[in-house]
């Protein structure tokens, strides 16, 4: 067993224990603090899985802003929940049934970390490897279309279906002239984004991110409408 899997298992076990604590403690302040701990554990898990941007966001948002938000709510409401029965049997039954169906659904998933899983070999990956945030072959290539993209993928004789598609690249990097002939052209760090997460976020999924930003804006406006005191009228 690799150290990666060992750390992953330990952190996930801790996260499960903390999650049970979040649900079961009576004091809401304790639940909030356990929620912050849970978020930090998730950030560690994602760092372990190399999802650095996600870990960054979770540490800032989950452990920081969420905790402030929940503590602020507790100031307005109350610190403790009512005494409830220890185990809610219908809920437990529902949860166990749903959980076993979902686990039964995961048995056909590809192995954890399998590089030949469909998610790593599909059409999306070809698109990612070719275009997102890359310097183009001729330097300026304004009106590229899906047809030119398809041509270029045919031209390329490297195994571009594997992810990342440019993994065989490396030796032919002396001059720009020969770079276009084989492998991915101009695949150095001039003028485009080495962080593929950001380039995907802003370019490949630009529409999606725009509407996510609109969702955040709407949430802020909802907060203002629900909670802001009307000082002018008072």
């Amino acid at each position: 067993m690799s150290s990666f899997l060992l750390i992953d298992m330990i952190l996930l076990g801790l996260a499960a224990v903390v999650a049970i604590g979040v649900i079961s403690v009576r004091s809401l302040l304790s639940a909030t603090m356990l929620g912050g701990i849970y978020s930090l554990l998730m950030a560690l898990i994602w760092q372990n899985m190399n999802a650095v941007d996600v870990a960054f966001t979770e540490a800032a948002v989950g452990a920081g802003i969420s905790t402030v938000l929940l503590v602020g709510t507790l100031l307005h409401t109350r610190r403790e929940t009512n005494q409830s029965p220890a185990i809610h049997w219908p809920a437990l039954l529902t949860v166990v049934l749903t959980g076993s169906f979902l686990i039964y659904g995961t048995v056909d998933m590809p192995d954890y970390g399998d590089a030949s899983a469909p998610i790593h070999t599909g059409r999306v990956q070809q698109l990612l490897g070719q275009r997102v945030g890359k310097v183009d072959n001729e330097g300026v290539h304004h009106a590229w279309t899906y047809s030119t993209m398809a041509e270029q993928s045919v031209e390329r004789d490297e195994p571009e279906r594997s992810f990342p598609p440019e993994r065989s690249h490396g030796e032919d990097h002396g001059g720009d002239a020969e770079a276009g002939a084989h492998g991915h052209p101009n695949d150095d760090f001039k003028g485009h984004s080495p962080n593929t997460v950001t380039s995907l976020l802003a370019a490949y999924r630009g529409y999606d991110t725009m509407y996510e930003t609109a969702v955040i804006f709407t949430a802020g406006m909802a907060m203002v409408l629900l909670l802001r005191r009307r000082e002018e009228r008072a």
Partner: protein, 140 residues
């Protein structure tokens, strides 16, 4: 918490670094881990820390509500405006390759940076609004 000397001094020391780090994370989003979402939250954390320690009135002095509310909309408009700009230049919506830059890669980078700034502005101001509203006192 205005009477806590240690908190006040440490906040004055910490907040500039938090803000600079937030700007760094937004500006270097396409070079390393980070981006508009994370950087915006870090910027907002600086303001929230300042508001917690020095009080709401002081927070409203450094970040007036009108400015914060307006910036939340301006961030989204900046994002959508980049899309409209690319359409005016003859491309498709959010097709960064037509932006005026030295080459294709620079145009892509320009578009991504502008879009990240828009995201960062919106996320930062909305998070400040969230703190501001949730610590509001009295009935609406």
């Amino acid at each position: 918490m205005k009477d806590q000397v240690v908190l006040r001094v440490m906040t004055k020391l910490l907040v500039p670094y938090m803000l600079v780090f937030g700007f760094y994370v937004i500006a270097h989003g396409e070079l390393g881990p980070g981006g508009g979402f994370q950087g915006g939250v870090i910027l907002a954390a600086g303001f929230i820390l300042y508001g917690i320690v020095y009080g709401k009135s002081e927070l409203h002095r450094v970040a007036p509500r009108r400015v914060i509310d307006a910036l939340a909309g301006i961030g989204v408009l900046l994002y959508a405006g980049v899309g409209v700009w690319t359409m005016l230049l003859g491309g498709r919506f959010l097709d960064y390759s037509v932006l005026p830059a030295a080459d294709y890669g620079a145009a892509e980078a320009l578009g991504m940076v502008l879009v990240e700034y828009g995201v960062g502005i919106t996320v930062c101001t909305v998070m400040i609004t969230v703190y501001d509203m949730i610590s509001e006192e009295g009935r609406p």
